[in-house]
C-alpha cells in the first residue's frame, strides 16, 4: 500500500505551495489518477482522509479525476482496442500509451490568499 507515501508527498507539496504564497487557507485539491498510474483511487482517497488530520489539509476536500488508459499508434494515430495486442491494427507499429494514462498529477490547489 504505497498510497500513504503518495498522500504524504501530496500534502507536503501543498503545504510548501501554501507557504510560498502566504495562503491563509486551502479550499480544495484536484488530482488526476491515470488507470495505469498504479494508484487505486479509493485507497488514495481513504489514505488522504486518514493522513490529512493535523496538517494544513485537515478540512480540505480532494477531488479525484480518473483517466482511463488508452493506447494508440504513434505513427498513424489509430486507436488500439482495449485488451488487444499492443500493435497498430493499421500499420503494425508498437502502440504508445496516450497521455495521462499512467500519470498521477496534482492539477490544482484552490487557496485563499490575502
Amino acid at each position: 500500500m504505497h498510497e500513504y507515501s503518495l498522500v504524504e508527498a501530496l500534502v507536503t507539496r501543498v503545504e510548501a505551495e501554501a507557504r510560498k504564497r502566504g495562503a491563509l487557507a486551502v479550499h480544495r485539491l484536484s488530482v488526476r489518477v491515470g488507470e495505469l498510474s498504479g494508484v487505486d483511487p479509493e485507497l488514495f482517497q481513504t489514505a488522504y482522509e486518514t493522513f490529512r488530520a493535523g496538517t494544513l489539509c485537515a478540512d480540505v476536500p480532494l477531488t479525484l479525476t480518473r483517466v482511463a488508459a488508452s493506447w494508440s499508434c504513434p505513427r498513424c494515430k489509430t486507436p488500439i482496442a482495449r485488451g488487444a495486442i499492443l500493435r497498430c491494427p493499421a500499420c503494425d507499429a508498437p502502440g504508445k500509451l496516450d497521455d495521462g494514462s499512467d500519470a498521477l498529477t496534482l492539477d490544482r490547489i484552490e487557496m485563499e490568499v490575502p
Binding site: 504505497h2 507539496r13 508498437p94 496534482l106
Partner: protein, 291 residues
Amino acid sequence: MCTTCGCGDTELVPVELHEKILAGNDRAARHNREHFLESGVLALNLMGSPGAGKTAVLEATAKAAASKGWKLGAVSADLATDNDARRLQKAGIPSKAITTGQACHLDAELVHRSLHDFPWQQTDVFFIENVGNLVCPAIYDLGQAANVVVLSVTEGEDKPLKYPVMFNAADLVLLTKCDLVPHLDVELAKVHDALARVMPRPRVIEVSARSGQGMDAWVAWLEELRDGIGLGAAAHAHSHAHEHSHDHAHGAEHHAHVHSHAHAHDGGHAHDGADHHGHSHAGGGKHDHEH
C-alpha cells in the same frame, strides 16, 4: 487584500500546478542515475511477486556471467530479514540488505541511502532486488538503466493482465522456473500472448535458475545493455541519454531507448520507437518473442 475595493477580504485563487506527485522521487532517481552512469555501473531494478525467483535468478547469474569478468553487486530489499543478501553473498555477489520494514516497495531515496556504505562504484553490473510485490514497486523510478520483471511459470498465465502497471514498466521479462513446465498445466504461449497485451514491445527470455536454461540469453541481454549505454567493451562513443526527458514516472522505459538507438540513430526521428519495427531494446536473446 481584495483588489477591487480594498475591503480587506481575502481572495480565492486556483493555483494550476499539473505536477507529478512523484516528482520528488523522480528527482532522487535522476540523481542516482547520474551516479550510476558516471561510475560506469549498469543498474537493474529487479521486480516480481514474492517468491517469483528473483534471488535465484541472481544466484544463477553469478555462474552464467562468470566468463564475462564483470564485478557484480546487489542490494536486496527485504521486509524483515537479510536472507536474500546472505544467499547472494554466498553465490559470490557482494550484497547488502535494505530492510524496508513496512514499506512495500523501494524508492529512490532508500536506494541512495543504501549506496553510502556499499562499494557499488566498483561494480560493473549492480542489481537492485525490489520488494516482492507486483504493484507498488512499478511506479518508483530508482535510477536504474532498465526494469526487469521476474515472472515464474507457476504464477498463472494471466498474471500480466492482472498487473498491467508492472508489466508496462518492464523492459524485460524473465519467465522463470521453466524447468517446471513439464509438471504444470501451463501454456507458455498464453503467457506470451498476455504480455503482448500489456507491453508494446514485449521482451521475454525463458529461463530456469535451477537448470540454467536461458541464462546465456539473459547475460547476452545484459551485455548488450552495457554496450548500448556506453559501458561495455564495444561501447559506442555517443549516448542519447540527453534527448530523453526523465520527467516521467517510468524513467526506465525511456532509458531503454538509450541503448536501443545506439546503432540505429540515423535520421532525426522521434524517439517513440515506432519507426523501429520490432527493434529490440537490448537484443541478443534467442528466446525473445516479438509479437
